[in-house]
Symmetry: C2
């Protein structure tokens, strides 16, 4: 981010016709975007949304309330426009692309879906490394390719989303390893487990952590305990940060991908905005590790980038207010008494 534009934006906020600070977090958002975009008129009109999908071998352990074929079915739902993120992308006039990193059953060709099929899902992380080094590289590259396309299209903001039955188990395992947390701290209900299901999920994650051992290298952790779509999200976040594109981070899954990215490349943190606090309980620890204060706390826990999409209008409002409000001098309004 460019401190000159950031400081100019701070000065501008101080002279707009409102008590200083009275727009709260919206002032910070506008100031950060001005620095990130190197612009006196920050804008997030042009938004690129990418949904990364992949299957998880750990589903063999019975850790999800939904059957695994839903990953592929939802890819079709994204393409046909019926999923939450599809609706939101239209509603927000954002571009949407879907990248299938690899499903258990290959998904037929669909318009708007990039079929990579790096692997037929990951291996079961409870018993063996989820991905090979080659698979990790390919998924990271797929994310970087998306960042490159977003940059080429002139995106002013990037939103990544996830789809993968079982991926709250994967994300919790990753977060445990990176944060030195216990499985029971970070295992949650995901798409709808009951207490017994959550307890079983924690036990599965605990086995994975024991198998994995002490290696804290972010990419080693990602390969051992991650998912194809999470690795691609990490690649996309690193790729956006490298290309100076701000990222609006979604919920639990994307935040874990962001955590891997920030551990790998700390400067990436400066390009991240956090959209919402998920209903998935493990999210709090992950956010705290990045000193992130999300804008929304609405009990959402859908994934797909939906929480980020719902938060996007807050960034747009912050920009509109910053760019278009009158100053005290311009409007002939008396300022606060000294």
């Amino acid at each position: 981010p460019d401190d000159r534009f950031r400081n100019e934006a701070l000065e501008r906020q101080a002279v707009l016709t409102k008590p200083p600070g009275s727009l709260g977090r919206l002032e910070e958002v506008a100031v950060e975007l001005a620095g990130q975009q190197g612009s006196g008129r920050p804008s997030v009109d042009q938004v690129h949304i990418a949904i990364f999908a992949g299957d998880h071998g750990v589903c063999a352990e019975g850790i999800s309330a939904f059957p695994q074929e839903v990953t592929g079915q939802m890819i079709a739902n994204f393409a046909h426009g019926g999923a939450a993120i599809s609706v939101m992308a239209r509603h927000l006039d954002a571009t949407l692309e879907v990248i299938n990193l690899g499903t258990v059953t290959p998904v037929p060709d669909l318009q708007g879906v990039n079929q990579l099929q790096i692997a037929p899902g990951t291996a079961n992380l409870a018993v063996e490394p989820a991905m090979t080094p080659h698979q990790v590289s390919a998924a990271l590259q797929a994310g970087d390719d998306v960042a490159e396309r977003a940059a080429a299209a002139g995106a002013q903001l990037f939103i990544g989303g996830d789809m993968g039955i079982g991926n709250t188990t994967t994300a919790a395992a990753l977060a445990c390893a990176l944060l030195d947390a216990s499985a029971s701290d970070l295992a949650g209900p995901g798409t709808g487990l009951d207490a017994q299901g959550v307890s079983h999920k924690a036990e599965v994650i605990g086995r994975a952590l024991t198998r994995h051992g002490d290696n804290r290298d972010p990419l080693a952790v990602l390969g051992s305990l991650g998912g194809l779509e999470i690795a691609a999200l990490t690649g996309a976040i690193l790729g956006c940060a490298a290309r100076r594109i701000p990222v609006l981070v979604d919920g639990f899954i994307v935040s874990v991908a962001a955590l891997v990215a920030v551990r790998q490349q700390p400067v990436a943190r400066q390009w991240l905005h956090f959209s919402h606090r998920s209903g998935e309980p493990g999210h709090n620890r992950v956010l705290a590790a990045m000193e992130a204060q999300p804008l929304l706390d609405l009990g959402m826990r859908l994934g797909e980038g939906s929480g980020a999409a719902v938060a996007l209008p807050l960034l747009r409002s912050a920009c509109a207010l910053h760019n278009d409000m009158a100053s005290f001098a311009g409007a002939g309004v008396s300022n606060k008494e000294a």
Copy 2:
């Protein structure tokens, strides 16, 4: 609200392609709007925003960080499009009208401003009743007239905003009387008082409460301790509820007007959505008294309806998701395993 449409909306939420409940508060918003609008396709595309302005005699006690002429200057800023709410109304494609209930110095004619000048501001509530019964009636009627215009224009949602230097003192006094709270519980910094200023403000409110005595009748309290713009907001909220128009309540000032309305007419509560938790500390008590859980908590404390305007896109997203998402059956997606 119409329970049939409310229940149909609940049933629809349960079959959309997402884990049940995973859209969190957005599901509740869509369901409530469906019941309020009596529609299977709730919508808040057509929004009417009205800003009510008035001056406060209690400014004689030195309780604001800004000089009193700012009320009139900001009315001009609203009309000229430079205020936060003006920017937001354009950004949201909402209609905006401004009603000047009465300023110390009359404001010249301005396009889009309805000049009522019921009184040259209120009397000083610390030493005498703020308004006469006639003034209270006229201000309530002005609010009802706005609700009538909103209904005639086909508004699907109403947002009221406030402008009045000194009105956090007035609102805190009203809330203290209605909630049996002490002045120090509800006095806050407003537009920017320091600790000494807040302490002085609490002392002024305490004097007003002593003068006012024990009368808890909502309209009597409103006349004794209220403001012209707050009374008009109360009238607008009651008028919208009577005309079955949902209201998106802004921050501290509008919430106090809503509290007066709900104490006067408890059924009005069923038409209220709460947009944000203000940075003004007294807001918490007022919200709790109405069992209100606002959607946003961004530290905003500007007034003008700006917090409601910033929250409006959340309602619009809730409607888009409710109306346009595919069902499990329609999209061929497997539902949660029983």
